[in-house]
């Protein structure tokens, strides 16, 4: 598919994605706006620039794979897939409805473009390792991207996987941490502080870089940087803002797992210029 290479185009696409996220969640009446909005710029850069993929051929053997380990961010992933053309945009409004392929959390059996089923936190990085090992066995060149949340790094399995990926020297495995500083019960630093985050990943043997996860230039540079790293997996720690793009949702953890009301939906769409 046609890549977006200009920063303004990518920023416009990210705004469009945020509008879709708000519309879907407003229509569904439940879901996770905060963590969907925080990773919208990252997913835009991935799906419209960095990833090698073909929405007309979702099972293309040479495609890059993306696993959304933070499964509650599904609305962002669905919006990205729909805007790329994996399925009609209208289908987004069926989110969470009975019979819809757009399940509350990703179900890989139901929707094209999904590489994993997630929703129980901590498991996506291990799945990414398996995909990356298969890539080596199959002598392919594709990359595997795994999007993690910060709260998810509380899980022990993440650190099992961190050690494992470095041990197998999986340089085609790229993790992106949507570090929005909040988990359901409050600020990550208050619930289970994971700092120093970068040092943890470095000490596990990963290439690590830190960026502003809403700065499209920095995101693209980081993704390029990660592609060039050798000998070890790479971690892009993206500092983000939960609820980014909607003033009354930003850093407001009440929107972790509560959808906007009809009124809030209208207001949010006005702010995003999406009517």
């Amino acid at each position: 598919m046609q890549k977006l290479v200009n920063i303004p185009d990518l920023c416009a696409k990210a705004r469009e994605m945020r509008c879709e996220i708000i519309r879907m969640l407003g229509e569904a009446g439940s879901g996770h706006p905060g963590g969907s909005l925080s990773c919208a710029d990252l997913l835009t850069a991935l799906y419209f620039n960095a990833l090698k993929h073909d929405p007309k051929n979702p099972k293309w053997p040479d495609r890059d794979r993306l696993v959304l380990s933070k499964g509650h961010g599904a609305p962002a992933l669905y919006a990205a897939l729909a805007l790329c053309g994996y399925f009609p945009k209208e289908q987004l409004l069926t989110l969470r409805q009975l019979g819809s392929p757009l399940q509350g959390h990703p179900d890989m059996r139901k929707l094209p473009g999904l590489e994993a089923s997630t929703g129980s936190l901590g498991q996506g990085l291990s799945i990414g390792i398996g995909i990356a090992l298969a890539q080596i066995l199959d002598k392919k060149d594709y990359r595997t991207y795994v999007v993690l949340s910060d709260g998810e790094c509380n899980e022990g399995q993440i650190w099992e996987a961190a050690a494992s990926a470095a041990h197998f020297k999986l340089n085609h495995l790229i993790a992106i941490l949507d570090y929005n500083k909040y988990q359901l019960d409050g600020a990550v630093k208050d619930i289970l502080d994971m700092e120093p985050m970068a040092k943890k990943w470095e000490s596990f043997g990963w290439n690590v870089c830190e960026i502003d996860g809403h700065n499209m230039v920095e995101i693209l540079e980081a993704l390029e940087w990660a592609e060039k790293q050798g000998g070890a997996p790479s971690m892009i720690i993206a500092h983000t803002i939960k609820g980014k793009g909607v003033s009354f949702m930003e850093n407001n953890n009440n929107f972790h797992g509560v959808a906007p009301t009809q009124e809030e939906t209208v207001k949010a769409l006005q702010e995003l210029g999406g009517k």
């Binding site: 059996r109 994993a116 089923s117 129980s120 398996g130 399995q157 494992s164």
Partner: protein, 322 residues
């Protein structure tokens, strides 16, 4: 008259042998182990096919997730560790990463049951069958001897979808031979009787055969069924037995809650209610000891099956009189 007890290989050894065969014939097969490959017997595969063998270290949760990723790309991962560690520690990963997405992952554990022996209760798996049976779509099996273990492992590789096989540590009495045939989901009727049906799997099949001999001496004709597959249950065979004998004893080296006994009882109570007795571990953990001593102490040997058969026959006759 006692039947001859001829010990063969342990079912875990048969697994190791089958894996090597699969390594030669099926390039999609990959093997993962959590630092127990010498005990689970995956080591031989690792030596012969090092590129397709992943020793994951002592991290079962990650191992199951990695297997899911490999399966999603078309590989057929066989994942092994001790039954208690692999199944108890990774129930969430088996659920989220394997069962829910219906991925083609084969979980094969060793050290099932209390016949693990001297290592004690922490290493003895008595809950694994119940745990895996709760996961939709999983096939669940306990083979009884080296021949059935080997053939069922080979079949598991051909089966599309998640499979769990429990193997055991001690040498297992030989029941079959190289020409015996097995099918996932189909029980094997080893003896046909008219009074009572003894259903068993794993090492309990041999005990059931011994019990059948003893019962014969008492004038009781018992069927013996090796129900190596707990899920999917061989309903046709159970129904046939229920109609002919009208009484069951279910024998398993597992906690009484949630294993083969529960599966058989659930089916029978719905389709053809008949009295059922259970030879199983009575809601307790075992301890260190020799395997035979443990099976005896925890009520899992032939004399207990004979007693259970007599109890169930008493129930059956009281029901008939009523």
């Amino acid at each position: 008259m006692a039947i001859e007890k001829k010990l063969g290989a342990a079912t875990r050894d048969a697994y190791g042998k089958a894996l090597v065969q699969l390594g030669k014939t099926n390039p999609k097969v990959v093997v993962l182990d959590a630092d127990l490959s010498k005990s689970t017997k995956t080591a031989a595969f690792g030596q012969q096919f090092p590129d397709r063998f992943f020793d994951m270290g002592i991290q079962e949760a990650n191992m199951v997730g990695v297997a899911a990723g490999l399966a999603a790309q078309g590989k057929i991962p066989f994942v092994s560790s001790f039954a208690c560690f692999l199944i108890c520690k990774t129930h969430d990963q088996l659920r989220m990463s394997v069962a829910f997405p219906e991925l083609n992952v084969k979980i094969v554990t060793s050290h099932g049951g209390i016949s693990v022996g001297e290592d004690g209760a922490s290493q003895q798996s008595i809950e694994d069958i119940a745990l895996v049976c709760t996961l939709p779509g999983f096939v669940v099996m306990i083979p009884a001897d080296q021949y059935s273990a080997e053939k069922l492992v080979l079949q598991a590789a051909e089966w599309k979808g998640p499979v769990y096989i429990r193997t055991g540590r001690p040498k297992a009495p030989i029941l079959y031979n190289e020409n015996s045939s097995f099918q996932i989901g189909k029980g094997v009727r080893l003896r046909e009787g008219t009074d009572v049906t003894l259903v068993a799997n794993g090492l309990q099949v041999f005990e059931a055969l011994c019990a059948q001999e003893t019962l014969k001496g008492k004038g009781i004709r018992a069927s013996v069924v090796d129900l190596h597959t707990i899920k999917p249950l061989d309903q046709a065979l159970l129904l046939e037995e229920a109609k002919r004998t009208g009484a069951f004893v279910v024998c398993e080296e597992h906690q009484i809650w949630g294993g083969l006994g529960s599966a058989v009882a659930t089916f029978l109570s719905k389709e053809y209610p008949v009295p059922v007795e259970f030879v199983a571990i009575q809601d307790t953990y075992a301890e260190s000891g020799k395997p035979d001593e443990l099976l005896e102490k925890y009520g899992l040997t032939a004399p207990y099956i004979v007693e259970a058969a007599e109890r169930v026959l008493a129930k059956k006759s009281s029901l008939t009189r009523a």
